[in-house]
């Protein structure tokens, strides 16, 4: 029975972990390319949730199309933000700090905008997949299983895109060295815009994925951004496998740790462990520096 409980917790951990990893991948990508600590990143997750709420709940679209729609809508929204807010701030002294504060202002604007447009109530999104699957005593709802599978597909797609395509190589080149990449004929501004779009789309897709499981509210972003930070610190800034590993580690700690200890103790232990990790190995679990 104890073992079954562990497996149950482990499955939930994988789901949470993939969710965290998707958000953190976006945060890490945006930081790696543009050097922006994007405090508005959590709001993209929240908006992704509202895309799911409207498309599934109001228009009855199916789950897969909704995820694709969330990727496209939030991705385009991210590119717009990059063009009109963040790009004008580049090439200025103290660029990193000013763009971070612009992101903070943006997060407030988006959050309050969502309160004004959508109301401050928690909204439930109807689930597409009904029923449960019993794998040798471990019970998982079909919905959570679908979330895990789609999450894995999204991470794989990102990996293939970054490692196997020309644009992907260009993004990695810019992340390594902006000037050298520009000398190779890569248009850095276009890559920045694309990365911001992809990063936002990742958070948006995570929001849409999770919407049927957790409810949607305008205040999701603040909590989510803190988790994404933890994951990025754990895995190492700018490392894609690191973000995945960090997300899974955090997901497991949260879901399994809470079986044995109280929630505050788990977070206190988590923070202390990550602080110790950061002192011993400042580049994170898989980061290179």
């Amino acid at each position: 029975m104890e073992i079954m409980l562990l497996f149950q917790g482990g499955l939930n951990g994988i789901m949470l972990g993939l969710n965290y990893a998707l958000i953190a991948l976006g945060l890490s990508l945006i930081f790696g390319i543009m050097g922006i600590v994007n405090f508005a990143h959590g709001e993209m997750y929240m908006l992704g949730g509202y895309v799911a709420y409207f498309l599934i709940g109001r228009f009855g679209l199916d789950f897969f199309s909704t995820i694709i729609a969330a990727v496209v809508i939030i991705g385009l929204f991210g590119m717009l933000l990059e063009k009109f807010i963040f790009r004008p701030l580049t090439m200025r002294p103290k660029e990193a700090l000013t763009s971070m504060i612009a992101a903070v202002g943006l997060a407030w604007v988006i959050q309050m905008g969502a309160v004004i447009c959508f109301g401050d109530l928690d909204r439930n999104v109807p689930s597409t997949f009904k029923g449960i699957i019993n794998i040798g005593g471990v019970i998982i709802t079909k919905e959570r299983l679908a979330t895990i599978i789609i999450g894995i597909i999204l991470v794989l797609l990102l990996n293939i895109f970054l490692l196997r395509t020309r644009i992907g190589s260009a993004i990695r080149a810019v992340a390594q060295d902006k000037e050298a990449a520009a000398l190779q004929g890569i248009q850095v501004s276009r890559i920045s815009s694309l990365s911001f779009g992809i990063g936002s789309a990742l958070a948006g897709s995570a929001g849409a994925l999770m919407a049927p499981i957790f409810s949607v509210s305008p205040f999701l972003g603040g909590e989510v951004i803190l988790k994404a930070f933890l994951v990025v610190i754990l895995g190492g800034m700018g490392s894609i496998p690191g973000a995945l590993l960090g997300g899974l580690v955090l997901g497991f700690i949260e879901s399994i740790g809470c079986l044995f200890f109280s929630v505050p103790s788990v977070s206190a232990i988590t923070f202390s462990l990550i602080i110790i990790l950061l002192i011993i190995k400042p580049q994170g679990l898989l980061g290179r520096d």
């Binding site: 930081f31 600590v37 405090f39 807010i85 004008p88 701030l89 200025r92 002294p93 103290k94 700090l97 000013t98 971070m100 504060i101 612009a102 903070v104 202002g105 943006l106 997060a107 407030w108 604007v109 959050q111 309050m112 905008g113 309160v115 004004i116 603040g222 803190l226 930070f229 933890l230 990025v232 610190i233 800034m237 109280s262 505050p264 103790s265 977070s267 206190a268 923070f271 202390s272 990550i274 602080i275 950061l278 002192i279 400042p282 520096d289």
Partner: protein
């Protein structure tokens, strides 16, 4: 390296003298309440600016304010010592803890200081909210923190119980803070900080230890954050862990950036402008308050890269160009 006083200094001193006589014109407690909060935030913004001056952002700056607030409140409430002893101890404890953190993290370049301070802030918030509840009061925090009082038997006694009395106390401490910041800014130390923030490796190539000075700058900044915290605790009377969470540091960073980083008066101007705007004007917009506030911050950052402090210079620049044309 002492420079002649500039016109801008005279303008600001004139404003301060004007503020000194403010109670002659109005006695409304709410106005003084807001002015006290603005004063506390000015001290805090100056402390934040000190650390930004060495090229680092401390996301745990409000945590150090919180440490100052809790230490000061506990010393007064538990040990029954006067505020005037508790306040320096609060400053010293904040500065000492920041020395340890600076020593651990400022060796690494890049975003490590930022990430580490983020973790530290969250750890302290979780600890204060859930552990040692008998001492720290848990999520509801500490309440009924007494206002300070001062008396010399036979001569006078002040109990800073009204907002107007507290307003003078805060004004004096704001002046002291600005004075210290100004002295640091004009001294050799200030120049070293500027050199380090512009190019750490270049500064190190002249033979100074950048890490040592960064730790020192960090400790000075966090000491003043402790002062702001101590004042906040005794002014408001209630402190909760939530007041000093990671989200609470972002607004003061906005004050500094909007006012103008690097200069001493930039954070003062930014804090006054944004806080007065939100407390006296934007209140009426209800839900839209934070939205408009965010838009204003983005606009100022977008169109005034050097912050509000650059307005007088830009105006005189435009004026000069206009008069030349004629």
């Amino acid at each position: 390296m002492i420079k002649k006083p500039k016109i801008i200094d005279i303008v600001y001193w004139a404003i301060f003298i004007g503020l000194f006589f403010l109670p002659l014109f109005t006695k409304e407690s709410y106005i003084f309440h807001i002015f006290c909060l603005i004063g506390i935030n000015i001290i805090f913004a100056c402390s934040l600016n000190t650390i930004l001056n060495i090229g680092e952002l401390n996301l745990a700056q409000t945590t150090f304010m919180g440490i100052g607030a809790y230490i000061s409140a506990l010393i007064v409430m538990r040990l029954a010592l006067p505020f005037w002893i508790a306040m320096p101890i609060a400053m010293m404890v904040s500065a000492t803890i920041s020395l340890a953190i600076g020593f651990l993290t400022l060796r690494f370049k890049g975003a490590y200081f930022l990430l580490f301070t983020f973790l530290f802030a969250e750890l302290v918030r979780v600890l204060l909210s859930n552990f040692w509840i008998g001492l720290f009061g848990g999520v509801p925090g500490l309440t009924n923190i007494p206002r300070p009082s001062m008396s010399i038997p036979g001569l006078f006694s002040i109990k800073f119980s009204s907002n107007i009395e507290f307003y003078y106390l805060i004004m004096i401490l704001v002046l002291v803070t600005i004075f210290v910041m100004r002295r640091i800014d004009m001294s050799r130390l200030g120049l070293l900080f500027k050199a380090i923030s512009q190019s750490e490796s270049l500064a190190e190539s002249t033979g100074l230890s950048a890490m040592k000075f960064k730790i020192l700058g960090c400790a000075i900044g966090c000491g003043f954050a402790g002062l702001a915290g101590s004042l906040y605790a005794h002014f408001v009377g209630i402190i909760t862990p939530h007041d000093f969470s990671i989200h609470a540091v972002l607004a003061p960073v906005a004050y500094v950036v909007v006012g103008g980083m690097g200069s001493v008066y930039g954070p003062v101007l930014g804090t006054t402008f944004l806080m007065a705007l939100s407390h006296f004007y934007l209140r009426q917009f209800g839900l839209y308050e934070l939205l408009i506030y965010g838009v204003i911050i983005i606009m100022i950052i977008r169109f005034m890269p050097e912050g509000l402090i650059s307005i007088p210079r830009n105006v005189s620049h435009w004026y000069g160009r206009l008069s030349k044309k004629e």
